[in-house]
Chain length 386, copies 2
C-alpha cells in the first residue's frame, strides 16, 4: 500500500489533505496540472515524500524564504501511536493556541514516536521567479552580502553558495555549455508578484553584491535561461561526483549561525585539503547551512572521510551550530546529540520516548543515543514515571 493519495485540495484555504507516501514534487505537479497557482514550498531532495519530510523536519534551498518543516507547514497529522491508538493532532485552522502543539512532537522524531497516516499541509502562492549568479573574492564577502540583502527585504526565494571547487566541477561536468569563473559564487532565485518587482530586486541585489566585492552579476534574460542557470546549482551531486571517475560522495549538512559560516567553511576546506580529501561545497548560505560533498573511491578513503566529518561536526558545535541542519540523526549522528544539546535535553527526549513508546517498538535504535553517563542516569531517576 503506497498511501500516496491526495484526499482534498482547499484552494481558498491554501491547504491540502494527503497521505504521507506522496512526493512533494508529485504533489506540486498535480497542483500545476489542475491549474491551481499554489505549491508546497519545502524542497529537500527530489525523491522525498511528505511523510519523510515531516519525520526528518526537512528543509532545502527554499528555507531562506519559507522556513523548514518545523515551522507551520504541517497543520495537523493523523498518527498511529505505539499503543495502537489513532489520534489527530489538530484541526485544519491555520492557527491554534489550544495547548502545546503535538504535531511538532512527530516532526523530526524520525518515526520513533508514531506512524503518520495523513497530514494537512499548507501551500504557498506560486509566484514568478528568476535567477542570478555573481562571483565573489571569498566566502566571507559573499556571506556579508547575503546578510545585507536579506535585511533589505527584497524577495529572495533561494540564495546558494557554491565554492570555487564546485564551480570547477560544474565547468567540467555541468549539463549547460556555460563556463563559469572558478570563484566562490552565489546563485540567487528571486521571487515577486510581477516582472517589475523581480527587476527591482535584481537591481538592489546587484548593488549590494558590488558593494561587497561581487563581480560578473548575471541575470537570466528568459525563463529558459533561468532554468538553465539553476540547473547548474541543482546538479551539485552529479557534477561533483564526476570529478573523480567511480567516486562515491558523503554529503554532510552541519549548520551554524550565518555570521559564523565563513569560519566553518575555511576550517573545513583547510582540514579536507590537509588530509587530501577531494570535495565541493554547496550551501544554503542564508541559513548558515552547507553541504560538503566528500569524494571517496575505496574503504581507506571512506574512513578518512568519516574522520573528517567527525572533525567538521565538532567544528560546527564549537561555533554554536548543529550536527545536522536538515538530514536528520538516524544512526550516524546519535552520538553527537549529547555534545550538541546537553545530557539534560537528551534525557528529556528519552523521557518522552519512554512515555509514548515504553516497549521501544517504533524505529528502535534511531535518534536517541544508546549509553548514558552515570551522572545522567541519576538525573533521569529523579523524574519517576508514576
Amino acid at each position: 500500500m503506497l498511501m500516496d493519495k491526495i484526499i482534498a485540495i482547499h484552494e481558498q484555504d491554501s491547504d491540502v489533505i494527503c497521505q504521507p507516501g506522496i512526493g512533494w514534487m508529485e504533489l506540486n505537479d498535480i497542483l500545476k496540472q489542475k491549474g491551481i497557482p499554489l505549491f508546497f514550498p519545502l524542497d529537500p531532495g527530489p525523491g522525498a515524500t511528505i511523510g519523510g519530510m515531516l519525520s526528518t523536519g526537512c528543509s532545502g534551498t527554499n528555507a531562506v524564504r519559507y522556513g523548514t518543516a518545523r515551522a507551520e507547514w504541517f497543520l495537523n497529522a493523523t498518527v498511529v501511536l505505539p499503543s495502537g491508538e489513532v489520534i489527530k493532532t489538530r484541526r485544519r485552522a491555520r492557527k491554534s493556541s489550544a495547548g502545546f502543539d503535538t504535531t511538532k512532537l512527530f516532526i523530526g522524531a524520525e518515526g520513533t514516536l508514531g506512524i503518520v497516516t495523513e497530514v494537512t499541509i499548507r501551500l504557498a502562492p506560486l509566484l514568478p521567479t528568476t535567477v542570478a549568479v555573481v562571483q565573489f573574492p571569498d566566502v566571507r564577502k559573499a556571506t556579508e552580502a547575503v546578510s545585507e540583502i536579506i535585511n533589505s527585504g527584497v524577495g529572495i526565494q533561494c540564495v546558494e553558495l557554491c565554492d570555487d571547487q564546485f564551480m570547477k566541477a560544474t565547468n567540467l561536468n555541468g549539463q549547460s555549455s556555460r563556463k563559469w569563473p572558478e570563484q566562490d559564487s552565489l546563485f540567487f532565485k528571486f521571487q515577486g508578484p510581477t516582472p517589475r518587482a523581480l527587476q527591482e530586486t535584481a537591481d538592489i541585489v546587484k548593488k549590494i553584491t558590488q558593494k561587497h566585492g561581487g563581480t560578473g552579476f548575471t541575470l537570466a534574460r528568459s525563463e529558459k535561461e533561468a532554468a538553465d542557470l539553476w540547473q547548474d546549482r541543482k546538479n551539485a551531486l552529479w557534477s561533483s561526483m564526476a570529478l573523480i571517475p567511480g567516486a562515491r560522495a558523503w554529503s554532510t549538512d552541519v549548520c551554524v549561525p550565518p555570521s559564523r559560516l565563513p569560519d566553518l567553511v575555511y576550517g573545513t576546506k583547510e582540514d579536507l585539503e590537509a588530509h587530501g580529501i577531494p570535495f565541493t561545497i554547496v550551501g544554503h548560505v542564508g541559513d548558515g547551512n552547507f553541504h560538503a560533498l566528500l569524494l571517496f573511491t575505496n574503504d581507506e578513503e571512506l574512513e578518512r572521510a568519516r574522520a573528517a566529518v567527525g572533525r567538521m561536526i565538532h567544528r560546527a558545535l564549537a561555533l554554536d551550530g548543529t550536527c545536522t541542519g536538515e538530514h536528520g540523526v538516524g544512526i550516524g549522528k546519535r552520538d553527537y546529540l549529547r555534545e550538541e544539546l546537553g545530557a539534560g535535553t537528551v534525557a528529556l527526549m528519552k523521557t518522552i520516548k519512554k512515555a509514548i513508546d515504553p516497549l521501544n517498538l517504533f524505529n528502535p535504535g534511531k535518534v536517541y543515543p544508546d549509553e548514558e553517563k552515570p551522572e545522567e542516569v541519576k538525573k533521569v531517576d529523579l523524574v519517576p514515571h508514576a
Copy 2:
C-alpha cells in the same frame, strides 16, 4: 527579580538572546534606539512579555506575514524542568534536524512543563510600511478578496477585518476625527523594500478589492496618516467598550479555515443579535481568526455573554476550527479540548505532562481537562509508565 535583560544582540545573524520578562514592544524600542533595522515581528497585546508569548504560542496582526510563536521565532529556550534540572533545548543555528524539537514542547504549554529563563529569538528586517482601508458590501466579499490578494504574492504585513459595528464604534469613539462608512471594512498594512514596491502593492490590492465589490479604497499619503489610520484599528477595545458607558468586554478568539470565516461571522452575529448582546468584531482575516468583543455591564449580562461564547466555540469547532486562535487555554477553555482535539490527543498531552512533571508541580489546574471519560482512562492505562 524582573528577568527582563537583553543578553546579546547578533545583528548579522538577526537574533537576540534575552530573558523572558522583557516585553516585545520594549525590545523593539531598544533595537530602534540602537539603530538596528530589525524587529521581533510577533505582535500580541501591547503588554505581552517574550516569556508569555512563548508560553501561549501567541500571534497577532502580523501573523499573516510572519506566522505565529509556533513557527521558528524561538530558536531555543533555557528551561528549568519540574525535576529541578536546567536544560537548553537547542543551539543558536537557525535550523536543526537533530531529533524532534523540544523548544516546541514549551511553546503553548502555558508554564505547565517548565519555567523558561532565557531564549534566543529571531528578528526580521524592519521594512517600510503603509496603510490602506477599503469598504465591502459584506464579510464574504471581503474574505474572498483577501484570499486572492494573499495568493498574488504582494507584501501584506497585516489584513484586518472590522465589521460595521466596529466602524460605528470607531466613528463614535475613535481618536481620529475621520468618519468612516459604517460597513464591513478591511484595514491593510503593506510592506516592501521601497516606496515603489509599496505603490505597486497598493495598485494590485485596489484592483482586486474592486473586483470583489470593494469601495472607497483609501491609501495613506504620509507616514503620519498611515499611523492615524492604523490607530483606528488598534483602538478596537477602547472604542468598542465606549459604546456602552461602564461596560466591560469579553474578547473571544476562535479561528477557522479562512474560507469558513464568513459562515462563522454570520452565525455569530445572528446569535448575538438574537440574544441582545452588544458586540463588535475585529479579525485577523488572513488567518481565519477573529475577536468578537462582547459587552456587558452586570452579572446577568455576563452570564448571557458566557453562554454565547460557548455556542461560538461549538460553531467554530463544527467548521474545523479551534476554540482559541491565539489567547491560550488557561482554565476557561480546558473543557473544549476533548471536543476539539479528540480524547486520544488530550491523553497524549497528559501523558507527556505526567512524564515531565509527575508531581503536577508546574501551573497545576491549567490547560489539561480534569476529568476523563471511563473509556479514555482505559486507553491511557494501555501506555504504562515504566
